[in-house]
């Protein structure tokens, strides 16, 4: 017995993994393997356990805005490195890396479109770009879309899916974006413009403590992590493990901090309903 016929074709392990990764994805909620295409059709919500996967800004817009109505604004704003921040990795390197990774120029997309036929202004944060943290460009675009909403009298919908809070690499300039964006929401208030804020996983730190928590109506996605201090920081401070479900959307709802927790598959319908009721 010198030559034994193989019963299977050999694949190099590398190829195997790649193919698997593209077609199948493991759910972080229930651990089941999901067919990627099916998951995407289901707005990235696990059909088994309703776990909400994070969305990119592009996917988010597609899921909420009526087809063909979205017009992006101020795509031309580009990030600078005002502190010339040098760390283990410089800010410039980090920016390049995340631009390449996401195909985006920054963590925010703003524009106009229609939801259920109602024209709105829209601001979407993308957690895939430096954790969706707020630097100068995020602050500037958010303030511009607020001012634009006032100018043309459109309700503003903001989706905050960015955990990083204020962007460390821009130092106090990024901290001041909290003051800047909150002041712009103040302008909306004075002008009588409806502002709906959707909190998605994760909404923390400086983003939470400024425009995200200032919605006239605040909606969160199930199980989204929402809060001010990061769970690890709190654990280090109090030196004990945090209770299960701490800082989740449901935790905040129970304490009266947000209006409702809405499954992503119902989100468009709920927003449309609010727009209809508030429309005069």
């Amino acid at each position: 017995m010198i030559f034994k016929r193989k019963k299977y074709i050999e694949l190099t392990p590398k190829e195997k993994v790649d193919i698997k990764k593209e077609i199948w994805i493991k759910c972080d909620g229930c651990g089941k393997l999901l067919y990627t295409k099916k998951l995407e059709e289901n707005l990235k919500v696990c059909p088994e356990c309703s776990y909400h996967f994070r969305m990119t800004a592009e996917e988010r817009i597609k899921s909420l805005i009526d087809e063909g109505t979205f017009v992006e604004k101020w795509r031309n704003l580009e990030t600078c490195d005002p502190l010339n921040f040098v760390g283990v990795k410089s800010y410039k390197e980090k920016l390049q890396e995340d631009m390449k990774k996401t195909g985006m120029k920054e963590a925010i997309v703003v524009g106009t479109g229609k939801i259920g036929g109602f024209p709105v202004s829209l601001s979407v944060l993308d957690a895939h770009f430096i954790m969706g943290s707020m630097g100068s460009v995020v602050g500037e675009k958010f303030s511009r879309i607020c001012e634009f909403s006032i100018e043309v009298g459109l309700p503003l919908i903001s989706i905050s899916g960015g955990g990083g809070g204020a962007r460390m690499y821009e130092g106090v300039i990024s901290l001041m974006q909290m003051a800047k964006t909150a002041s712009s929401v103040g302008k909306l208030k004075k002008a009588g413009i409806l502002y709906i804020s959707i909190l998605t996983d994760p909404t923390m730190g400086g983003v939470a403590a400024s425009f995200a928590f200032l919605g006239d109506i605040i909606i969160a996605e199930p199980k989204a992590l929402i809060g001010f201090a990061g769970p690890r920081v709190i654990e280090q401070t109090i030196r004990q493990k945090l209770p299960h479900g701490f800082q989740s959307a449901e935790f905040l709802y129970e304490r009266g901090l947000i209006d409702m927790v809405v499954d992503r598959r119902d989100l468009k319908e709920i927003i449309t309903k609010i727009l209809r009721i508030f429309h005069t």
């Binding site: 005002p82 502190l83 300039i173 800047k180 002041s183 712009s184």
Partner: protein, 323 residues
């Protein structure tokens, strides 16, 4: 109050100890003693000048946190004619990390809000190290709204490592309370003067830090994250605190240059902790000057200017429109 010295103040400590020793020594001839002390005091000034004109950002962080530095209540006790502290957020409880109320400053009625740190361990625990909970921010807002009712100017004293990171703070809406303060302060129809008197720790500082003028004492700091936090996130090592302190551009000089603050309040040679009298004098004249200027501006204009002040902060490029 026991005098404490920072590691880099060692040469100052040595000279001051020597002066004390000589002063106490009864065996030395008074004339010799005098000349000796005059000489040492001269040397002390030179040493202080040498050390304090070459401080690194990390050393400035340590000065900003110095336990002998005057805190909010020290300023109230020493530069206000009189004041009354008011308590509670009218909803949950009184937060000892923030003091607030009304007082007379050079005959003028002024509202004050400030973080309050302790000096000794027990006092620090009672004051929660100056780290406020949501009820603290809500109390601050209540006092500011009351000030608005009478158009009394508001002076805020900022000195906190940050907002309190614990379970209770999150349960009661830490992010929400800070966000609401920012929005309400941007619209408050009375002048607001904010002064960083020690540590300006991120959102916890900004929660009472949005105003018409923002001043910093010379050796105070203002930062989006503590150098320790930044070092552990970006460098994954506590050994990098000095580098992080430098990278964050958190000193008064850096922030004046970046256009974030309006003015630096000078500190006496050797820092605020070394000479309270002079510190109070400089603080008093800075508050007086700024309040007088702000009172001259009509409220509607003031609020528009306040909006523009923050609206223009940010550094970005406006590339070509791709559409």
């Amino acid at each position: 109050m026991e005098k404490k010295y920072l590691p880099f103040e060692k040469p100052i400590e040595e000279i001051e100890r020597k002066i004390e020793e000589i002063e106490k020594n009864k065996k030395i001839d008074p004339i010799v003693k005098n000349t000796e002390i005059v000489k040492l005091k001269q040397l002390l000034i030179e040493k202080k000048k040498e050390i304090y004109s070459n401080l690194t950002p990390w050393q400035i962080v340590q000065i900003a946190r110095h336990p002998n530095r005057p805190h909010t209540l020290d300023y109230l006790d020493n530069i206000f004619d009189e004041y009354i502290e008011l308590h509670g957020d009218r909803a949950f409880k009184d937060d000892p990390a923030i003091v607030s109320g009304f007082g007379k400053f050079l005959g003028m009625t002024v509202a004050f809000v400030g973080h309050q740190k302790g000096r000794e361990t027990k006092e620090n625990i009672d004051r929660k190290f100056g780290m406020a909970h949501p009820e603290g921010y809500r109390k601050a807002l209540r006092i500011m709204k009351l000030a608005e009712k009478f158009t009394f100017p508001v002076v805020t004293f900022i000195d906190t490592p940050g907002a309190h990171p614990d379970i209770e703070a999150e349960e009661r809406g830490q992010a929400l309370s800070i966000a609401i303060n920012l929005l309400e302060m941007s619209l408050l129809r009375t002048p607001i003067l904010c002064i960083i008197i020690g540590e300006g720790g991120s959102g916890g500082a900004l929660g009472i830090g949005l105003g018409d003028r923002v001043l910093m004492q010379e050796f105070s700091i203002y930062s989006v994250i503590s150098p320790e936090g930044c070092a552990s996130i970006l460098w994954k090592s506590q050994n990098a605190v000095e580098e992080a302190a430098k990278a964050l551009k958190l000193t008064s000089r850096d922030l004046l240059e970046l256009g974030i603050i309006d003015e630096i309040i000078p500190e006496p040679l050797g820092g605020a902790h070394s000479d309270w009298e002079k510190t109070f004098e400089y603080m008093k004249s800075a508050i007086e000057k700024n309040l007088k200027e702000l009172k001259m501006i009509k409220i509607d204009e003031l609020i528009e200017l306040r909006y523009k002040k923050y609206r223009k902060i940010g550094v970005f490029k406006e590339g070509e429109e791709s559409e």
